[in-house]
Amino acid sequence: MNEVDQNKVCFIICSSDRFYTEECLYYIHHLNIPEGFQIEALTVEDAKSMAAGYNEAMQASDAKYKVYLHQDVFIVNHDFIRDIVDIFQRDEQIGMIGMIGSPKLPDSGIMWEGKRCGAIYIPGYLHDDLFRPGDSALTEVEAIDGLLMITQYDIPWREDLFDKWDFYDCSQSQEFIRRGYKVIVPELEEPWCLHDSTISNLGAYEGERIKFLKEYFQEPEKQDQEEHKITVILTTHNRLLQLQDTLRWLESVEGISNLIIVDNGSQDGTEQWLSTQSYEYLWFDEGVTGYGKLWNTVLTNFETQDCVVFLEAGVYPEKKSLLELEKALQLGNTGIAGAVSNRFFADETGKIRNREELTLMRQNDQRHPNRQLYHKTLRANWRMWAARRDIFEKNGLFREELDDPGDVLTDYSLRMIRKQLGQIVCLNAYAYEDFGRCGDVYSEADRWHAQDRIFMKNEWGMNYFNLQPNKSLVARIQEESGKEFAVLEVGCDLGATLFEIQNRFPKCKTYGLDINEAAVDIAKHITEAKYGNIDELRIPFEEKFDYIIFGDVLEHLRHPEEVIEMCRDILKEGGYIIASIPNVMHISVMTGLIDGRFRYEDVGLLDRTHIHLFTYYEIMELFDDKGYTVKDIDGVEFDISDREKAVMETLLGLSDQTEEWMYKTFQYVVKAQR
C-alpha cells in the first residue's frame, strides 16, 4: 500500500446478502462528509473468514480511518465521520473505537456474559435494546463487538488463528492492546448505529473461543490444574532478611514449579537458616563466586523447567509476573524476557513495605500501563529475568570468565543478538525492587567490573556497552505511533535508541551509522546499520530522512558545522535534527576552572574525546547559521553542590548575558527543523 491518505475513511463490509449490503451502503452514502475528506466503501464477498476478508480490504485501501462493519449495521449518526475523526485526533493512542465493548472480559471470553458498555439500537420484534453508556466519555475496554469497529491504524487481523466468523473482534481488540493502543467505547447520548440482529450461527463459536483464550488469556478454569513449568533461581548474598521477605512473597506468586536458592558465599547465617528449611539450595561455601560460574553451576547441576527465572533476593515479583514472563517466552523466537521494576527503598526498620502499599505505588507508576505489552530490548534487567531453557542449547551457557551479573548478561545478550534470538521486556511482568538492599551488595563489585571490562574489550572490541536508549531524544519524535517515517541515528552505537524508536513507532524505518565497526556488527542485527564517519561528509544511505539524531555526537566531530549543513541534503523538507549536546558552561566545569583545573575524564562533560565544546549560544548559532529553525531546546539538570551554587551566584553577577539555567544545564537536547 502506498502513502496513507490522512483524510480518507474506508467503510469495509463483509457481505453475504446483497440487499442488506445495499441498505448498509445507503446509510453510509447519507453521512455528512467533513470538508477535505473523502470516503470509499469496499465490500468483501466470499471471504474465507471474517479476518481474512478484513485483511484483504485493509490492504486494498489507503484510507487512514477504516470502519469495519457488518452488513446489517446501519450508521444513523449523520456526523459519524466527524465524530470518529475527532476522537482519534484527540488521542493518537486510541487505536480502535467500538460501539459496544467489555471493560473487563469475563473469564469465559464471552462478552455478553459480563458487563458491557456502549449504545446501539437493536430493534427486535419484541423489544428495543439500548445498552447503557459507560462510566466516562471514553471507556477503555478489553474487547469491542465486531458489529462496528473503527481503526486509525492498520494492524493485521489474525486470520492465521481465527479462520471462521467468531472472536475475530475480541482478537483484534487484544492485538491493538498488545501494541500499546487503547480500544475505547465512546459515551453516546444517542446511538450511532442500528444493528438489525438476527439469530447468530454459533456452530463454530466454542472452538474459536478456546483459541482466543489460549492466545490471549489463560483459561481460568484450567489455570489451577495446569502445571506451569517455571523454575526460579533465587540468588542471595548476605541478605538473610531480604531472602526471607522474598520467599514469603513468592508463596503467593503463581506458576512456580520449583525454586532453587543459591547462597553465594553468605557469612550472615543464611546457610544455617536454609539448612533448617525445606528449600532446595546450593551454597557456595568457598566464598563469593562470579555470576558466570554461579549461574552455570545451577543450570548444569539442577533440574530446571522450560522457563527459568533468575531472581535476586530483595526483588518482589507481582502475583502473575512469572506467568507473564512464561507467556512472553512463547512469542516467536524470544529467548529472554525481562521484567519491569519499580525500585523502592525499605523503611528504616529494614522491613519491606506491605503489599498494598507497593501495589498502590505500581498503580501510580504511569510508565508501565497494566496491559499486555512487549518491547524489544538489548538486555533485560539482570535482577529479574527469564530464559527459555532451550536457549542454553542454542546460545550456550554463560561465560565463566565474567563475574558481575550485569556484565554476564550483557555478554549473553550480545551473543543472542548475533544469533537473531529475541529479547523482550514484558511490561506486564512487574516487580518491586528493594534497591537499597539488592543493588551492588558485593564488596567484590569493583574488582569484578575491572576484570570483566578487560575481557569484554577483548571479546567485543568495545570499552562501553550502551544498552539503554536515550529516551530524551526519542521523546522529541512527535509522530503518530502508526506513521511511516525514516530516522537516521548518527553514532548509533549498538542501536539501543533506534530499538526504542522501533518499539514506539512500529512502522518507522531506522538507520544507524557508527564509526565503531564492532558496534555496527551488533546494531546491524536490529536495524539497517553501516560503518561510516560522518566527519567525512558522506552518508552510505540513499534514503532521505524525516529525523536525523545525534546523541552526544556533535562534540566529537571535527566539522560539526559542515555536518549540520550536509544534513540539509539528506533531510526531507521539514525534517528535523534532534541532538543531545553537553554544556561546557556547566557550573562543575566553571568551578573547576576557577580552581585552575580542566581535567579530562573518560566520560562526561570533559570526555577526553570531545573536540568541540558548546554552550547554549553556540548551539543556537550552529543551527541558525545553517538555516535551521530551532523548535525546541531543553536541558537536563542535576543537583549541584553548595560551593557550585556560590560560584554560580558570583558568576551571574559578572555578566548580564547569562542566566542560572545556563550554568545548571548539564546537557542540552535540541530539535531543529530544516
Partner: protein, 138 residues
C-alpha cells in the same frame, strides 16, 4: 419435524394463500421456528395477520406466494420505516407506491413500526400524514 420440513410446509401453505393453516402450523411448532432465522421472522408476523383478520381485512399471509416473497416484502417494509425514522428516506413517493402495489395495510405498517422501528412516534406521524395526503390507503 425439523426446520427444513417446517419451512417447506409453510412455503406450500403460503403459496395456497392459506393463512389460518400457516398460523396454526407455526404456533404448533414454535420451538422449531424459533431456531430458524427465516421462520422466526415469519412467526413474528402472525400478530399482523391476526389483527388484520379481526379487522376484517385481507391478511398478510394471503398477499404473498411463498416464504421468499414474504421475507423480501417484510425486509423492504422494515427498511423503509427505518429510513423514515432516521430522516434518510430520499423518495417518499417510492415508499407509498410500494405500499399501494403490495397492499401493505396500515395494520402491517403500525405493527412493523411498533416492533421494528426506532423513533416510533416520528414514523407513526409520517404514516398518518401520508394517509391524510391520500398517498396511503386508510
Amino acid at each position: 419435524m425439523d426446520s427444513q420440513s417446517l419451512r417447506k410446509q409453510v412455503d406450500e401453505l403460503l403459496s395456497m394463500k392459506k393463512c389460518e393453516e400457516t398460523v396454526s402450523l407455526l404456533m404448533e411448532n414454535e420451538e422449531i421456528a424459533k431456531y430458524d432465522r427465516d421462520l422466526l421472522k415469519i412467526f413474528y408476523l402472525i400478530p399482523v395477520c391476526n389483527t388484520e383478520r379481526e379487522a376484517g381485512q385481507q391478511t398478510l399471509f394471503t398477499k404473498v406466494s411463498g416464504i421468499e416473497e414474504l421475507l423480501e416484502r417484510d425486509r423492504r417494509v422494515k427498511f423503509y420505516l427505518r429510513r423514515i425514522a432516521f430522516d434518510v428516506l430520499d423518495d417518499e413517493e417510492e415508499f407509498c407506491t410500494f405500499c399501494r402495489q403490495n397492499q401493505v395495510s396500515l395494520t402491517e405498517l403500525f405493527i412493523e413500526t411498533y416492533c421494528n422501528a426506532v423513533h416510533k412516534e416520528k414514523v407513526q406521524a409520517f404514516i398518518q400524514r401520508k394517509v391524510a395526503e391520500g398517498k396511503l390507503k386508510a
